[in-house]
């Protein structure tokens, strides 16, 4: 089977069986993209218990690279952005990150202890950089433009939900004193925020000659590095998925439905603010995504009684695969439908 740009030709021995024209199903087109296929390869390897492994800390190389690359390229595009427009979009992003945890917390605490409810709310209020990066690659394959400042939106959406989550855990939980200094430092100065915002800044202030010199590294390698990283993510997701059965049906359903609700809310906000299609799509993806790096790092210190064995499998084992495989084409279709109406 070969797919050339907008045509899929299912064939045996090069004789076409069926042909899918320009309006190729976006789900199928996404499924056949190399990063997604490598994600499935990772899942497969874990399911059949192969000894395939991307040994630690190699996956950290890929994640550092992806943050640096997406930040730098976003920064280089920032110059061409309309500042008023950017400010509005960032405001929308921060508001979403602050408000989404609230509805989730009050739904979750009907079934979960307060600490766990707060941690899950923080997880789904915060964002996943790899989901964002996969969404950008998806947009590029669809030849849809997006703005550099959406990388800033990614950066500013990581921390607020964490702070809200910890406050909720304290307010409705043990009511212990809050170590604000540590909390804010851990939330706002965690490694991925610093690298992302730093690269963004660097990309926007460096010389064009400097920017050109790093292009082969920063842009050229990007899709390949994403493949490698998603191969590893597939293995991690499948491992976490194994442990989720114990958590029960409620959390599994939550991990599937919360992204859809958050995506719908984000779409409404984007629609009101008249964001262009590409930016609206990225904002929607951010809202729908769940954090699995920054949130556990902070939560384990601030709310150690919340169980990582609950919120991590939800984010990594269910929501992440759901978003990159089905969510991305779904969100884009919805946006195209409403925006072109």
């Amino acid at each position: 089977m070969k797919v050339s740009r907008n045509r899929v030709i299912l064939s045996i021995n090069s004789s076409p069986i069926c042909e899918i024209g320009p309006d190729l199903n976006p789900v199928l087109s996404n499924l056949l993209a190399p990063p997604i296929l490598f994600f499935f390869l990772g899942v497969f390897a874990t399911l059949v218990r192969s000894d395939l492994e991307v040994p630690s800390p190699l996956p950290r190389l890929f994640s550092l690279y992806l943050l640096l690359s997406i930040g730098f390229r976003g920064g280089a595009e920032l110059a061409h952005s309309d500042p008023e427009h950017s400010a509005l979009a960032l405001l929308a992003a921060v508001s979403l990150a602050c408000l989404l945890p609230l509805w989730m917390f009050f739904v979750l605490r009907r079934r979960l202890p307060n600490a766990d409810a707060a941690a899950v709310a923080a997880t789904y209020g915060s964002v996943s950089a790899v989901t964002f990066v996969t969404a950008s690659a998806f947009l590029e394959r669809q030849h849809i433009q997006s703005s550099g400042f959406m990388v800033a939106a990614l950066a500013v959406m990581e921390s607020p939900a964490i702070v809200i989550g910890v406050i909720l855990a304290r307010r409705f939980g043990d009511n212990a004193a809050l170590d604000w200094k540590h909390l804010l430092k851990d939330a706002f100065l965690n490694g991925s925020v610093v690298l992302l915002l730093g690269s963004l800044l660097i990309g926007s202030v460096t010389t064009t000659a400097g920017s050109d010199s790093v292009k082969p590294f920063i842009s050229g390698l990007f899709p390949g590095m994403l493949c490698f990283f998603l191969l590893d993510m597939g293995m991690v997701a499948a491992k976490r998925l194994r442990t989720i059965r114990e958590a029960g049906l409620f959390v599994i359903l939550f991990a599937l439905i919360a992204p859809l609700i958050n995506a719908a809310i984000a779409m409404a906000v984007a629609w009101v603010m008249r964001l262009p299609e590409g930016d609206a799509f990225l904002l929607t993806t951010l809202a729908a995504s769940a954090s699995y790096i920054a949130v556990p790092a902070t939560m384990r210190l601030a709310v150690p009684e919340a169980r990582p064995s609950l919120y991590l499998p939800m984010a990594l084992g269910i929501t992440f695969p759901f978003n990159i495989v089905l969510g991305l084409p779904l969100y884009l279709s919805a946006i195209e439908y409403f925006w072109r109406k």
Binding site: L58, M233, Y292, A297, L301
Partner: protein, 97 residues
């Protein structure tokens, strides 16, 4: 060669600053931290994840006097309560440079 206590603490990597803090407060002469590959206990399987470090443990060893060991054990209890893990004490003799 002096008779000493060999105190070992295995707990969540997230608790590391607290563990070092309690050793400092007891004023031990030194300690050594070892990496842990994986572990199992009441909180289930724990093996460091390439992405999150959420399930990784660390192992801290300090050689100290019997009184220091007792104080470490006391200070250790609340940390182990919050983060899980164990604290071992055994006898040893000790040569310092």
């Amino acid at each position: 060669m002096q008779a000493m206590k060999r105190v070992e603490i295995i707990t969540d990597a997230a608790a590391q600053t607290e563990v070092i803090g309690l050793l400092d407060s007891v004023k031990v002469t030194g300690y050594t931290v070892f990496p842990v590959l994986s572990g199992r206990g009441e909180r289930g399987e724990r093996s460091g994840d390439s992405l999150t470090s959420a399930f990784s443990n660390l192992h801290t060893l300090t050689v100290c006097s019997s009184e220091e060991a007792d104080r470490i054990v006391e200070l250790c209890r609340p940390v182990l309560k919050r983060f899980g893990g164990i604290c071992l004490i055994s006898d040893c003799v000790y040569v310092k440079h």
